[in-house]
Amino acid sequence: MVQTNYCDWEKMKIRKASLVFAIGISLIVPASVLATSAVAATTTLTIESWRGDDSVYWKKTLIPMYEKANPGVKIVWAPSTSNEYDSALSLRFKGKTAGDVIMCRPYGTTKTFIKNKNLIPLTGLPGLTNFTTQSMQSWSDASGVPYCVPSASVGAGFYYNKDIFKKLNLTPPKTQAEFIAVLEAIKKDGKYTPLAAAGTSADSWALDQMGLELVGPYYWKGDAGGVALDNGTRKATDPEYLAAFSALASWKPYLPKTFSTMGYTDAEQLFILGRAAILVEGSWSVKEIAPPGKNVGIFGAPVAKAGDKPYVQVLADHGFGVNSASPNQAAAKKLLTWFTTKEFAQAYATGLPGFFPLSKDKITIDNPMAQAWLNLRDGAIVTAPIGMDKMNTGTPNFFSVMTNILNVMMTTKKTPAEAAADFQKSLSSWYPPQAKNK
């Protein structure tokens, strides 16, 4: 009978299909369960971080260094993208899926995690005495209890192409007038872009950290200027801050015409390719911008009056803390103690030039460009960026508001006075100590 044959053949096919399907399902479900259950014969510590860029060095050098000395401990380096780090970490804390060791952002965001008891206090941790109280400030609570071990600081400044400078007979500027003169000369020559910086809105953080916070401290007199804004005793439209906005705005004629679509990597690329003469950058970029063989120099933020002491920005960029929900707190604390040692500091500085360990130990910097960054501190007043602490603990906050305003100021016809006014208006609406300065 035709129908019987049809049924038989179909039956076989169907049985096969159902078998495949059943196998498939029975593989997928346990596979995904297995993949997420911890198969721990040894203690595994996971490190949360936003420094995906440093992954290679961590995986190839730093982690093996510790694992060799501490058999039975396995370390997993698990970075997230910088912009998503804080929100993803917050979610992981809530869902109890955060790693054991947490890389701490400077100031504001970490303070929130401290307040929510996501990190454990580190009082009494061996090795913590290796750091000054000042360097631990951005990771301590109101009573000074530390929650993160500081690891490295970074700076900001200007790279310049020595060959182009030589060709155009220029020397690195010390004052604002000299700086503008240098930029003018390069612009007149016409062959190179005078100044490269990040102009896209997605990279607007750069215009703050390596823009306003680079040239500004000289005008608002460093840390004092930050405290004044925090307390509400000064407002952003006061002359010293206005001068800072103006100093930044003075770059505008010398940035490329299509600045608004130039991202952070585009700016770097422009300088690397030799099409831009000066690049404003952070010290962490030594490996990319100034590998051996490149004829590159550094100069710091210009002063207004010749002979004045310059200010140099030093930002305690990151530290490491322990997740309060981690089941491996003892092992995590042991790792943190290693982070306080000279061995770690030296390895960090050597492999990640441009990051400067905050410990009291004397370490040797063998990378000449990293040394050049350190030399900027000679004869200068060291200051931290403003607005990152008390103004950064809510929504909106200093970071989101300032970065946007700076980006608008630099890419449109907005004047420094308008930018300062916009910032003050926004600040007074969500920051209580400034509410009276509407």
Binding site: G24, I28, A31, S32, G52, T97
Partner: protein, 276 residues
């Protein structure tokens, strides 16, 4: 008359070719550049690689970078798993709706019709809470469950139009032979193969390329999908243009191949179900 027809035909061809170039041109430029050295990419973006500038380095580094293979596996597991489950559920439901025509069936069909247009991502806050509560965060399962839930409405409706084409005679004959409902279903299944292909294709596409749910529900490299991985790779401040472009190309290939090879079946499944 014939000459006029010829020129009209040519005109249409020209227009189509223009659109085709617009569609494929940008993609070809990227593919070409994925085989070149960094200098060659910047100095002559539109030039084909010659023996001096040809290199597979970008691909090598893209694959070895971090989690590429892991991401690929994750994407495959999630996409294939979701697609299989969606197809199965859709076929079952569609058979039921077309076979047991009652008012309830109409209501259920209406529910799924509305479901096609539901902006599911707006429910993410609760989906997130659910996954946290059941410890499913950072698992393949969490994504599979969500994707199946989103994809069944369209799957069901597509299969309903396909099942409607099956003649009752075949089903009656099977029943007379003593088959129960499920067996009848299995017998009818091969007849709606084009529909199954269409549902599989339509389900797979948005899942493989999805950015939203992996962004929210996967919190680490363990379950990171290929699309998310590439987005993060692009987002990191990297100067490795070769690896970047190579990873984009590698990420695009699976679906391009799938849809090019099976485009006939896909269209057939859509129009078969459609026209009736």
């Amino acid at each position: 008359m014939k000459v006029q027809n010829q020129s009209k035909n040519l005109l249409v061809h020209f227009v189509m070719i223009f659109f085709v170039l617009l569609a494929i041109g940008p993609i070809l430029v990227i593919v070409i550049n994925s085989f070149k050295t960094t200098d060659a990419i910047f100095s002559g973006p539109l030039k084909l690689p010659d023996s001096a500038t040809f290199t597979l380095d970008g691909f090598k580094r893209a694959i070895l970078n971090g989690n590429f293979i892991g991401n690929y596996i994750n994407s495959t597991v999630i996409t294939v798993g979701s697609t299989i489950l969606t197809v199965v559920c859709s076929c079952l439901a569609a058979y039921g709706i077309t076979e047991f025509t009652t008012k309830l069936a109409t209501v259920i069909a209406g529910l799924f019709t509305i479901g096609i247009m539901l902006p599911v991502t707006l429910g993410t806050v609760v989906i997130l809470k659910m996954m946290v509560r059941f410890h499913l965060l950072n698992t393949h399962l969490s994504l599979i469950l969500v994707y199946v839930g989103i994809s069944v409405p369209l799957g069901v409706i597509l299969m309903v139009t396909n099942f409607k084409t099956v003649s009752n005679d075949l089903k009656e004959a099977a029943r007379i032979d003593g088959a129960n409902e499920f067996r009848t279903f299995l017998i009818v299944l091969p007849l709606v193969k084009p529909g199954i292909a269409a549902v599989a294709a339509i389900t797979m596409l948005p899942i493989w390329n999805d950015l939203w749910f992996p962004l929210i529900l996967t919190t680490g490299p363990k379950t990171q999908t290929l699309t998310l991985g590439i987005q993060q790779f692009v987002g990191v401040h990297t100067n490795d243009w070769q690896a970047l472009i190579a990873s984009l190309v590698l990420g695009a290939i699976p679906l391009i191949l799938l849809f090019t090879l099976f485009s006939k079946q896909f269209i057939k499944g859509l129009s078969d179900g459609y026209g009736k």
